[in-house]
């Protein structure tokens, strides 16, 4: 049977690439090292497939159709936008796993939107390029949940989706080792008047809950508190919650944290170790 062997929480801040020079060399090196560390861990876990849970930023999906949860079934390319150092290219999709998640999800009452093909944005492309692609032959399943644009998926639903993903993977009668990525956050006031502010206290509090594997507390954050303490970018905590629910009982190991106002974001990296 397939199994979930680990998970990772990591940022997808495009400014790390688009405005790299705004941070000093030491910070750039620490951030690169954190992504590299995750890539190494994906290899060490002998992962066959990676499910990446990200958020659209009103780039892929427009006002005419805003999905709550979307899975890519057949093929993906990316990144959509220019990210210096990351070439646009094909992302090898695990079509069998995607089809299984789609079917099992529908059976369980999760009415996925689907993309048979999609050019993904930085939310999927950055984890893929830096952490998945360095491990040859690891396939990807891109999933988008509405954690950036209203109407957003409810935190409770993101958690339920993660739990469904966990059940589906574990019921898949295929010998496959799967890791799950929660791509996003932490604090950032993207597009808001406060853009550039970083809520370090909030970020460190979230990482403490991640380290404790305290999904209940993380899933209990209300949107008004997230907005006040972490900005609109903190709504992406849903991606972390979904990924943690998919991994199940886990202890988080913080890999790095960088409060980076020059890149307008608190950057948190953690591994979710299966208990």
């Amino acid at each position: 049977m397939a199994e979930i062997v680990g998970g990772f929480l990591l940022p997808h801040d495009p400014l790390i690439f688009q405005q790299a020079e705004r941070a000093d060399e030491a910070r750039r090196n620490r951030v690169r090292a954190a992504y590299r560390r995750i890539a190494e861990r994906v290899g060490a876990l002998r992962a066959d497939s990676a499910i990446v849970i990200g958020s659209d930023h009103y780039m892929l999906f427009g006002p005419t159709c805003l999905p709550q949860m979307l899975i890519v079934l057949d093929e993906a390319q990316g990144p959509l936008e220019r990210l210096p150092g990351i070439e646009r290219g094909e992302i090898a999709v695990d079509t069998e796993l995607a089809a299984w998640l789609h079917t099992r999800g529908r059976d369980a009452g999760f009415d996925w939107a689907v993309a048979k093909t999609l050019t993904v944005d930085h939310a999927i492309a950055i984890p893929h390029a830096l952490c998945i692609a360095p491990n040859r032959d690891v396939l990807t399943v891109p999933i988008y949940i509405a954690s950036g644009v209203e109407p957003m998926i409810r935190m409770s639903r993101a958690r339920q989706l993660g739990a469904m993903i966990r059940d589906a993977v574990r019921s898949w009668p295929v010998d496959r080792r799967v890791v799950v990525f929660g791509s996003g956050g932490m604090s950032h006031w993207v597009g808001m008047a406060e853009m550039g502010r970083v809520g370090e206290d909030f970020d460190l509090e979230v990482l403490r809950h991640v380290a404790a594997g305290d999904l209940d507390t993380l899933a209990a954050y209300q949107d008004d508190a997230l907005l006040a303490r972490g900005g609109n970018g903190a709504f992406e905590l849903r991606n972390f919650v979904c990924a943690m629910a998919a991994v199940g009982s886990c202890a988080g190991k913080v890999i790095a944290y960088e409060p980076a106002p020059e890149w307008i974001t608190g950057l948190g990296f953690a591994e979710l170790e299966v208990r």
């Binding site: 930023h57 009103y58 780039m59 005419t64 993207v190 597009g191 008047a193 853009m195």
Partner: protein, 94 residues
């Protein structure tokens, strides 16, 4: 004000090359073809991102449209404008 109509316009301005080119060459002509109020047209033409945000327009769309079309392509300029009062006022449009 139609939030949906304005967000569709700003989305197209941020991602669609043809719409961007039409805006760059003759913004008033592009906007005249849309069903916008005079105030809505003014806000878009003057890059009144503060005023648009105050009316519920998604700030990620506003940032994208600013970076693509405002000219400076400067996030600091965008933040500065977001921290100023709205440029367009209802009273001046009756």
């Amino acid at each position: 004000m139609s939030t949906g109509r304005l967000e569709k316009l700003l989305y197209d301005l941020a991602i669609d090359r043809g719409t961007k080119e039409r805006f760059r060459s003759d913004p008033a002509a592009l906007l005249a073809r849309l069903h916008l109020t005079g105030m809505e047209r003014d806000m878009v033409l003057r890059f009144d991102v503060r005023g648009l945000a105050d009316r519920g327009i998604n700030v990620m769309l506003l940032m994208g449209y600013w970076m693509e079309l405002e000219g400076s392509r400067d996030l600091r300029g965008y933040v500065a404008r977001m921290n100023q009062p709205a440029l367009c006022r209802e009273a001046s449009h009756g």
